[in-house]
């Protein structure tokens, strides 16, 4: 299935900011996170087609996944 993965802020460092990719059926958000070698505990906001999603949310054909790092400093 065809999925667009968008990375924001610090997740772009050394990675492709916007990537259209072919993924096997049944791929979940956490599989994409692992594939991108992003530490799971650094994931802040997960938006799937502009709606909140979870790490175990399953992706489907045409999805647009956006990953934002956890930011908490002041």
């Amino acid at each position: 299935m065809h999925v667009t993965v968008k990375l924001f802020a610090g997740f772009r460092n050394g990675r492709i900011p916007i990537e259209e990719t072919e993924l096997p059926e049944g791929t979940r958000v956490i599989d994409v996170v692992n594939r991108q070698t992003i530490p799971v505990n650094e994931v802040g906001i997960i938006m799937l087609n502009n709606r909140h999603a979870k790490l175990d949310t399953e992706l489907v054909q045409g999805d647009i996944l956006a990953l934002f790092p956890l930011v908490g400093g002041g």
């Binding site: 610090g10 505990n41 790092p69 956890l70 930011v71 400093g73 002041g74």
Partner: protein
């Protein structure tokens, strides 16, 4: 006070009065600088220090700002800029809450830190600095943490709270406190070249939604550090948003969050 009114009118020009005449009035009529500024604004006269706020902020809006009370929780990277900018904008009462003293590693970004103030309480330095900028601004320094216990009292009669805290759990606690007290809150967080900001009105839970996936206490700021310009940009966005909440103008960041990326010079808006 009638004599004072006559004095203010007599010494205003184009509906504006200088700080020198305001200081003289303070002496002659035995009024505090705060009483003088409030009276002048109430008469529709603009203290000359706010001349360049016009016409983006009108004289009556200036009076609204002066009568408002902002609580800034945290007086570090974000909080120093928020306090400085809101004081210069003309917010009359500012409560700053922070338990810490300035340390050497604050010097890279915290506006009010300096070599001579290392070891001094951040909130004390803030009070001194704001008094030098405008003695009519009442800055209340609280050198302690905001907690569930002291929160309701410290946030009493606050118009808007500004989050300048440096941990996810503290931000969530503040958001929950603001909800229970029923006041708006401006949220922000920074890390390295990146920042994010949103606004939570009473009845909303945007901060909880932002952090719904978290598994740890701290974010990427642990790895990426905190930079001067990121604190200044995001702190300034917070000051603007808090002013809009007070004045009831503009479009607030409710239901959406700005993600600021100073490395790629991008600002993205996401619906949260």
């Amino acid at each position: 006070m009638q004599n004072a009114e006559f004095f203010f009118h007599k010494h205003s020009s184009n509906n504006m009065i200088t700080s020198a005449w305001m200081a003289t009035a303070s002496e002659i009529f035995h009024l505090t600088p705060a009483q003088v500024e409030e009276k002048v604004l109430d008469l529709g006269i603009l203290p000359a220090r706010y001349k360049r706020n016009q016409c983006a902020i009108s004289t009556s809006e200036q009076f609204t700002l002066y009568k408002s009370h902002v609580a800034i929780i945290g007086c570090g990277g974000l909080g120093c800029y928020v306090a400085e900018e809101l004081a210069r904008a003309g917010v009359g009462r500012i409560t700053v809450i922070d338990p810490d003293v300035f340390e050497e590693h604050n010097l890279n970004r915290q506006l009010m830190s300096s070599l001579s103030e290392l070891g001094a309480a951040k909130v004390t330095v803030a009070a001194r600095r704001i008094a030098e900028i405008n003695p009519a601004i009442h800055l209340l320094p609280i050198q302690s943490c905001l907690t569930i216990e002291n929160g309701p009292e410290l946030l009493q009669d606050v118009t808007v709270a500004v989050d300048a805290l440096d941990s996810v759990s503290a931000k969530l606690m503040l958001a929950s406190l603001c909800s229970s007290v029923g006041i708006p809150m401006v949220y922000a967080a920074i890390a390295g070249w990146f920042g994010q900001i949103a606004c939570q009105l009473p009845g909303d839970d945007i901060v909880e939604r932002i952090y719904q996936n978290i598994q740890v206490e701290n974010g990427i700021e642990q790895k990426q550090g905190n930079l001067a310009f990121t604190a200044a940009v995001v702190g300034s966005l917070e000051a603007a948003e808090a002013s809009k909440v007070i004045l009831g103008k503009g479009r607030l960041l409710t239901g959406r969050m700005l993600v600021v990326d100073l490395l790629d010079m991008e600002v993205n808006e996401i619906t949260v």
